[in-house]
Symmetry: C3
Subunit: 332 residues, 3 copies
Amino acid sequence: MNTVKWSAIGIGTKNQEGNWLEIFYPKDLINLDSNIIEEASKFSADDFETPLDLSKEIVKELSTINLNDYLSDSSHLVMIVLREDKKIESVPEAYLKLHLLSYREVKPNSINLDNIFAMLPTVAWTSEGPKDPDELPEIIKDRKISGSQIHVYSLDKFPNLTDYVIPEGVRIADSSRVRLGAYVGEGTTIMHEGQINFNAGTLGKGMVEGRIAQGVIVDEGSDIGGGASTLGTLSGGNDLVISVGKDCLLGANSGLGISLGDRCIIESGLYLTSASKVEIIDDNNQVLKTVKAEELSLKPDLLFIRNSLTGSIQCKERKKDVNLNEDLHSNN
Amino acid sequence: MNTVKWSAIGIGTKNQEGNWLEIFYPKDLINLDSNIIEEASKFSADDFETPLDLSKEIVKELSTINLNDYLSDSSHLVMIVLREDKKIESVPEAYLKLHLLSYREVKPNSINLDNIFAMLPTVAWTSEGPKDPDELPEIIKDRKISGSQIHVYSLDKFPNLTDYVIPEGVRIADSSRVRLGAYVGEGTTIMHEGQINFNAGTLGKGMVEGRIAQGVIVDEGSDIGGGASTLGTLSGGNDLVISVGKDCLLGANSGLGISLGDRCIIESGLYLTSASKVEIIDDNNQVLKTVKAEELSLKPDLLFIRNSLTGSIQCKERKKDVNLNEDLHSNN
Amino acid sequence: MNTVKWSAIGIGTKNQEGNWLEIFYPKDLINLDSNIIEEASKFSADDFETPLDLSKEIVKELSTINLNDYLSDSSHLVMIVLREDKKIESVPEAYLKLHLLSYREVKPNSINLDNIFAMLPTVAWTSEGPKDPDELPEIIKDRKISGSQIHVYSLDKFPNLTDYVIPEGVRIADSSRVRLGAYVGEGTTIMHEGQINFNAGTLGKGMVEGRIAQGVIVDEGSDIGGGASTLGTLSGGNDLVISVGKDCLLGANSGLGISLGDRCIIESGLYLTSASKVEIIDDNNQVLKTVKAEELSLKPDLLFIRNSLTGSIQCKERKKDVNLNEDLHSNN
């Protein structure tokens, strides 16, 4: 028997044609005992190369795990065993990797998510559960006639994080802005303007009022201000992966196109792209030299501002600590 | 019999006083056969000058169309025939025009929407359907006592697009940010920070992570970056209608107060107002002349940046293509 | 008997351990008659030093008020009498003060909200009502198995305003962005990008498309543009309380770190921090002197721009009125 990288049993929904819409993996059905995998493998024609639909018949035969409580007429059970971390080739595989990120089992940028956009179907996330968008106009019409209500939250390839996984010790003011696949560190508060994409997130305590793009990782103690932007790898064709160090502050409406070391500050309203030319200034505000912003990537203890009289972007070493408001950041 | 510009039958809700709250028009009941209009006209006292309430009695008498499946105790049927495109004078008329835009029957800025704010009532859009806001405090109290739940999504004159119309081939990450009356082109992805007002939208494939204001049209292949702003005609008293050409890129947290030609780029973080003075620079970054931004309106192949050393807004002709990430923009 | 500052009876929810999750105070049960307080005081061991749970037995004994219609198996009644405006020491007290703000009984920054973060529990706000986040994973699993749906709107210490209080004469396009405890003045329209925190708000007619942070008050007639930021007292450790005068305009994607007097304008895209140095210019755009922005705090009739050629922040006196679009701002 081969090695197992990840294994899980999930509960999912299919459209009228029998194609997967989405799969939920309960935390206690991730990383299965090897005897369960061994027993179930006799029902898999290809040794789990493809996900195994767990029919009622198969569930009844399994002696190593009792899944009777998971059976219902409206949902489907699927078992997945990944022997290596390869590109995504099925809907259950895509959803498992998104769950692994949000359960904090794996860090962003540490697993292979290639092909995820091609695999994930666009789903209508509604007050009546996940629906195929093509089936939706008829449902809307039916409900309008009967005077009842279906509400469509989203038409997207990714569901909300909190309809699947509730990370411990976090606050998320508007859950529609955090996708399943986000890694939300313990002690993180995400305000209404905060947003976290899949394969992105915070490693610990912090405040997020801006946008953490796909691939961006923010270390603990940092504050992403209201409306602040981080450049991800999905837009603009840039392969650079952005990160933010510990105890940084991105001011409100600022933007970041380079990686920051620890204890850096970007002034409110300043957009620092990787191509920005930056004046390095000393304690007396004298210009020492001019560099491209990307040369300052990952360097700690820097303060970036736009000089309000000359309009130039400037950088100086900083001494004072940022003190996040303890009261505000408490999550208990 | 006069010419007919648009005709439709809709299903709607009224408040306790019998006034319309909202109307849904199924796609197959828009643009009615002339014989249906002719037959129904005998029930209209003013030849459809005002919308015709289709009572159960009228529905039973109609032989040209069978509406029995649309009858219910909790909703109301209305028929509307517009002989010309005049200013809006009723709730059913307002909702029909919003549907026409979202069904892609008409383009933004191509129909008469005068008076729409005066005609549309403010509605509480709730988990129990549309409600009159004045009737809501009692309902909330009742539900709180019984331990059940009514959730109010919005108090607004416009509902969410996706509770009425599901445009084909689009993704909308947060449906609360796109109003009925938005024109969303096939292949458009609207991310969580994207927003489209009524009478505004995208003509084809594109990525929207910023705000498309009332009256603004974005041509295909363009990318409106995270938090980017476009100035609409509703605020500030400006009558200028903004548009964005094909294959443009508005950087994250940028802003636009002029119309862009094809293949233009606004650097992340730069707000270009129509009154901004702009330095035209050549390939060697030498300043050729200074112009007002509005003089560059609709000109193609321009790159707008803020020089990070001098603070001046600069514009140069651009050669390189913007390549939107194919993977990300696929909608299948 | 001591004086009474505020008194109220509320209906609330508890978690499985019997701790308060949230309390709703109907408007007609705020500011109780003194004879009700007097009669109920005999059931309070500490003369209302702590909130009094109104059990069915107590309700039956009360002759001064009939609360039978408020009794149910799934909710709990609580009575609170505050003799002075001291720091918050219970969940019912916290919720009462948030209600007082949103019912427009008290203005922001006028009552003692100390300790509110410590007192308020983080609640999962769901389509099935308020839940303890710790109890949620089991509920999600149950619903997924049965093919039904629980939707989590938010994991936060504060609920949405509109699930508790519907202020008269307002529009709120996306209710998930306005917290209970917001003070929303009559005639205010909050667009999709607008946001109002608790203990913050607008005093009258106005348009909000940006973020009004905790502690920030906006006077009537002002327009907070799309994505505009106001700096609150919770982040950054700054104790300065920001306010915006009458008939001001904060442009789209602008930001404000000082208080504005009446009829001031911040140009779109300009972030004015309190530390910004600002050139004062005359009618001929000649620089008169340079001051720190905070010196201009609360001064009326100022226009702030960033000179698009020199990059400097400039301020001039303004003559022309801002005219908000009457049509757009009408709320009837």
